[in-house]
Amino acid sequence: MLRYLRLLAVQFRASLQTSMQYRVDFLVQGAMSFFWMAWAVVPLLVVYGTRDRVAGWDFDQALVVMGWFLAMKGALEGAVNPSLASVVEHIRKGTLDLVLLKPADAQFLVSTAKFSPWHVVDVAAGVGVIAWAFSRLGRAPGPLDVLAALLLTVCAVAVLYSLWILVVSAAFFVVKVDNLSFLFLSIFDAARWPVSVFTGFWRFLFTVVIPLALMTTFPAEALLGRIRPVAVVAAVAGSLAFVASARVVWLRAIARYTSASS
């Protein structure tokens, strides 16, 4: 365990040093993240320009969901996306052999291969939006609510990561997977809205199949103090199941791997 923590630190330091070479990126990232923040809030303003409440959510509450979405997207693009994009590249070129030969768990190695630390700006922007929403609400979230929200965030990141592992596992079968990641990002985009906006088929899809609800709506509800404890328990159990099944699928997929090189 300690060994893996040390490995994580090494991998992270390497990424940090790489990105320190591109300091201009920090500014670009910052500017972009303001741009996307404004971009994300515009449709919200338009929708709530016509109605006070939509599907049981008022503007400030929907803003909390939006802030969560921005933060999660930052986490996805900063910590999950770059590594897994590089796995796909490894599989395509056959250089995954070099990773598999190393004396550590392959899933761990490929998932920590690359970070983009500058995306921290996005996470900060998301937290900023949440803070703004709460200052509009005129109250601070209770300590227990914050705790529940943090727990759910951990679950959300775990599920997000597992979904990505599933996508990458698909790369062992269909090599051209950059499309799949694109598809995933486009679906993830729907997480910017509270899940109760969706009905019927969409609601089912976004809560059970691709648990977007868990990623933004549930933590936001927890922070607002309106989540039912049952939902928290279900979310934790569900995400544990998700992580476990992603691990199984990964192990299956890696067993099928035949090097593409030479």
């Binding site: 016509t50 109605r51 679906i187 969706f198 009905t199 969409w202």
Partner: protein, 267 residues
Amino acid sequence: MSVRRTLRAAPTLLRVGFSEAVAYRAEFLVWLLSTNMPLVMLALWSAVARDGPVGRFTQADFAAYYLAALVVRLMTGAWVVWELNFEIRQGTLAFRMLRPVHPLVAYAAENVAAMPVRLAVSLPVALVALWILGGKHVTHDPLLLALFPVTVFSAWLITYLAMAAVGCLAFWFESATSLFDVWLGLFGIFSGYLVPLELYPRWVNDVSYFLPFRYMLAFPVELVTGGLTRSQALAQLGAQQVFVLLLLGAAAGMWRLGTRRFSAFGG
């Protein structure tokens, strides 16, 4: 690089492009599925309009708008910016430049050749929309109906040429795709892709007439859903053609300037 030679090569280029679209059909399908934003926005606005119309939009109007937007978006997709960015960085662009057809024409042929496959996907969407909503939400003006394919093709031209122009920035910068993200962001708002332009504050709608984005999506959509009179439609068609020409100039100019400093590495 004569026009005649390009024309002679056109059937072959189109055939190759079509075979590629068919050969990579799984990827193609995934790519099409990722165009799901109009459906998500439709779900959202349906929830909003459940208890009464928003502006002039009822639930059925929103359905017509976003399904039409989906069709237009499916038909006008292009991917040249990523291709160009990749090929410039990898140096494989050099091979394309050796061929006797202008690379931008070759890319365009690949895109156009995929259109029948796109039509095969978007036609059912259109039919389902017609079946659910009835003919009330489609324009009855035969001239406008006849103009619709023209406007969609011009919308594709604007999309393609803008992508080509931005993609050429890869000659100067490390990566042009992050710049393209800004373009996509502006497109999302000013084209009516996220929210119908009428529902924004008036100034957004006013500004949108002077930007290319409206003519890439909102114009064909409003035209086919009967939101425009004949004279409005013709005026916007004129503006659309102006943007096609402007972007054609921009793409050609960027290409010329860029290739001058292009020295292939690798290959």
